[in-house]
């Protein structure tokens, strides 16, 4: 069968077909221009946004891991510093305790020395007072009895002693 016969058999009308082709082309252009392209642009933007989100997620994950590592490091350092501070505080406390102990010992020794000195002073003072009192009693007793027991010869001898002192 000839092609013209086939076209005629299927009722193809070239003018209608051409018009329909042109109409379809126009529809296609319009759809592409106002429907498909915005959709494609939107899809591309969405795809880029998703890719960006994924990249951000990976970056956040990595950041979290790094932060965790830093936290662990900071914790280790803080722990070490805390231990160092505790050791220093203990050493300082021991040093202060030792200083206070030495001060207390020195103060106790000073108190002991002062007490000994005060006791010695009191002893000396009492001894001196005792000597003075004994001297006073001796003098009083001697004065009370000397005048009675001295003879005229003794009186003369004393007067002669004074005369010799004047003459000397």
């Amino acid at each position: 069968m000839r092609p013209e016969g086939i076209l005629a058999t299927f009722g193809v009308d070239w003018s209608h077909l051409l018009a329909q082709v042109i109409s379809f082309g126009i529809v296609c252009v319009i759809l592409y221009r106002f429907a498909y392209r915005p959709v494609l642009v939107m899809l591309e933007a969405r795809r880029q946004q998703i890719a960006l989100g994924l990249a951000n997620a990976e970056q956040i994950t990595a950041e979290l891991a790094r932060t965790e590592a830093q936290r662990q490091e900071v914790m280790v350092q803080a722990n070490a510093q805390a231990n160092t501070l505790i050791d220093q505080a203990r050493a300082a406390a021991a040093r202060v305790r030792e200083q206070q102990t030495q001060k207390a010992i020195a103060a106790a020794e000073q108190i002991t020395i002062s007490a000994r000195e005060a006791a010695a002073r009191d002893h000396d003072r009492m001894l001196a007072e005792l000597k003075r009192e004994v001297g006073r009693l001796v003098v009083e007793a001697t004065a009370a009895v000397t005048g009675k027991i001295l003879t005229s010869e003794d009186q003369r001898r004393l007067a002669e002693e004074t005369a010799r002192r004047v003459a000397a």
Binding site: V138, L150, Q155, L158, A159, T162, V166, A167
Partner: protein, 130 residues
Amino acid sequence: MKINKRAKREAEQLFRLCLVNRGLDENRVRHVVQRVVAADRRDSPAILSHFWRLVKLDVARHTATIESVTVVPADVQAAIEAGLMRRYGPRVTTIFAYRPALIAGVRIQVGSDVYDGSVQARLTALQKSF
């Protein structure tokens, strides 16, 4: 009484006028006092006050007070007087006094010089030594 330098100087001059052979003449002292009183100067009391002080010091320098509890034997008295005259000159006059507080011994004072041989002085020295 305040005695100024001029009154002191005049009193000392008058006192020197009363000295005869380095000894104080009582008649001159009386005469000086009478003259000063008769002059009736404004500073006469000050002059006489200082003059009296000088005379008193001179008398004290030439007076020996001998204190004792008992009567000092005559020979000892003579020895003391001889010693005083040898030391202070022949113008020294002696006064004997009774002083029982001495307990025993003799105490002699001539001016500011003291020769204390009494038991009281020895006991006082003993008490001070304690």
